[in-house]
Amino acid sequence: MTRYAMVADLRRCVGCQACTASCKEANGTPPGVQWRRVVDIEVGEYPDVKRVFVPTGCQHCADPPCMHVCPSTATRQRADGIVTIDYDLCIGCGYCAVACPYEARYKVDTASFAFGDEPSACEEVRHDPKKIGVATKCTFCVDRIDAGRAKGLVPGVDPDATPVCVNTCISGALAFGDIEDPDSNVSRLVRENKSFRMHEEVGTSPGFYYLWDKETP
């Protein structure tokens, strides 16, 4: 079985937001909507305080609460673990948004653009009226994955089959691949480093791993 997952190396993320920008460009998300965002967290107490940059978004959980609560079956889970939304079925009730422990879902009720009432050339190309009034979130760039696989490419290895945020990351903090494949890059990273997943106590089994330290040899 394949289960696509993402790994974020917190030791390497510098909070440049390049992933956020590339996601917005690729998916044409409106102002205020960030499917891939980087949270700037302060930890510790004075004088021992650190800033940690935490890339986050939809965690494509193995047991996604958003899918269970969705009354319209718009939210589904593919066999490869990617959680999707059918914009033609979604009624925009927002139940999935309050069920998600990761604040990964968005809903906008009116179209808005970055530079006034009219879309820029880029926004015009990417604007999709189907996304107004319904829930939206990170798709792991599922269209790129599917198109890439159709060409025989490997997601997480070949850029054309890999989410744009991973391709754009300047520091190599983001990685993507099949966590069920023991030889994949993400499996190796998780195996060879210390990692955690966010809000594991909620029991959603997220597909997003955070590396924070290396095992002492």
């Binding site: 609560v69 009354p71 079956t73 718009a74 009624i91 009730c93 948004a97 990761y102």
Partner: protein, 281 residues
């Protein structure tokens, strides 16, 4: 490890969603009260009609909130796991049984009460399933929502004209159960060590006002039961129970609905050399 709290108030469900829980709770509670009254020998088809009206009003509030109201029928597609679908599926039989109780034979109210109880339970479970909002995803919220709806329904019954002594007892008992459930709910939130923002609402001015309303409601009902101005105090106690229930749900849905925030369990160690991402082994 201490870190800056990232929890924030959810903005997806507003006062319109709270309206569904408030009016739906009062309506289903009123249908249950009408069934109880019939068991005690008091036929009250008007209460069933008003109860159905409240439920319809609550659903209308939700309809106003959803992003795609003209495809609202899709809400029925996922009964396997969605409590929202289950709630919606109970509405047609509840309305049909309620209408039959009003128009054909009041004894249909027993059937309507079964569906109303299910409707009420679905509402409580809807909140419990919201794993992104700690104030809702707390198991004690189920008895709190149920007891509040019962207190609202019995209170509304007293206000709308039916004031048999037994219903005053029911309203008082439901009110006491609501208070017990609320104390347990609060204890559960504190024990779960939720973000301070989630707990803060309990000390807010609104919540203090609502606590006073609920206490006044219980006092009025107790005095009415003791025979002190029973009609006036039963109406006062009932209306306060309804208002306090609506307020409590509005606070829970709109004011206490903080997210979990982004939390990391470990601080990353930097400056330890390249990882396998850059230099594959």
């Amino acid at each position: 490890m201490k870190q800056v709290v990232q929890a924030r108030l959810q903005r997806y469900w507003d006062i319109r969603a709270a309206g569904n829980f408030s009016f739906g709770g009062t309506g289903s509670g009123l249908v249950l009260a009408a069934a109880l009254a019939l068991a005690l020998g008091v036929a009250s088809p008007w209460a069933v009609a008003v109860g159905l009206g409240f439920i319809g009003l609550g659903l209308f509030c939700v309809w106003l909130e959803i992003g795609k109201p003209w495809r609202a029928i899709n809400v029925l597609f996922h009964p396997h796991t969605s409590w929202m679908t289950r709630e919606a599926l109970l509405v047609p039989p509840l309305m049909a049984a309620g209408a039959a109780a009003v128009l054909i034979d009041i004894r249909f109210v027993y059937l309507a009460a079964l569906f109303a109880a299910g409707f009420m339970y679905c509402q409580a479970r809807m909140l419990l399933a919201s794993r992104g909002i700690p104030a809702w995803c707390q198991k004690e919220i189920v008895p709190l929502i149920l007891a509040t709806a019962l207190a609202e329904g019995a209170g509304a019954f007293l206000v709308a004209g039916g004031r048999p002594q037994a219903l005053i007892v029911v309203a008082l008992v439901a009110g006491i159960l609501r208070e017990i459930a609320r104390v347990l709910y609060r204890k559960g939130l504190v024990a779960a060590k939720l973000p301070a923002a989630t707990l803060k609402w309990m000390a807010s001015r609104e919540e203090k006002g609502l606590t006073a309303l609920r206490g006044l409601s219980l006092a009025c009902l107790a005095l009415a039961l003791a025979g002190v101005a029973p009609t006036a105090l039963a109406i006062a106690g009932g209306s306060l129970a309804v208002l306090a229930g609506w307020g409590l749900k509005a606070v829970i849905i709109v004011r206490a609905a903080f997210t979990r925030g982004q939390v990391i369990s470990h601080t990353p160690t930097r400056g330890r050399g390249p990882t396998a991402i850059v230099i594959p082994s």
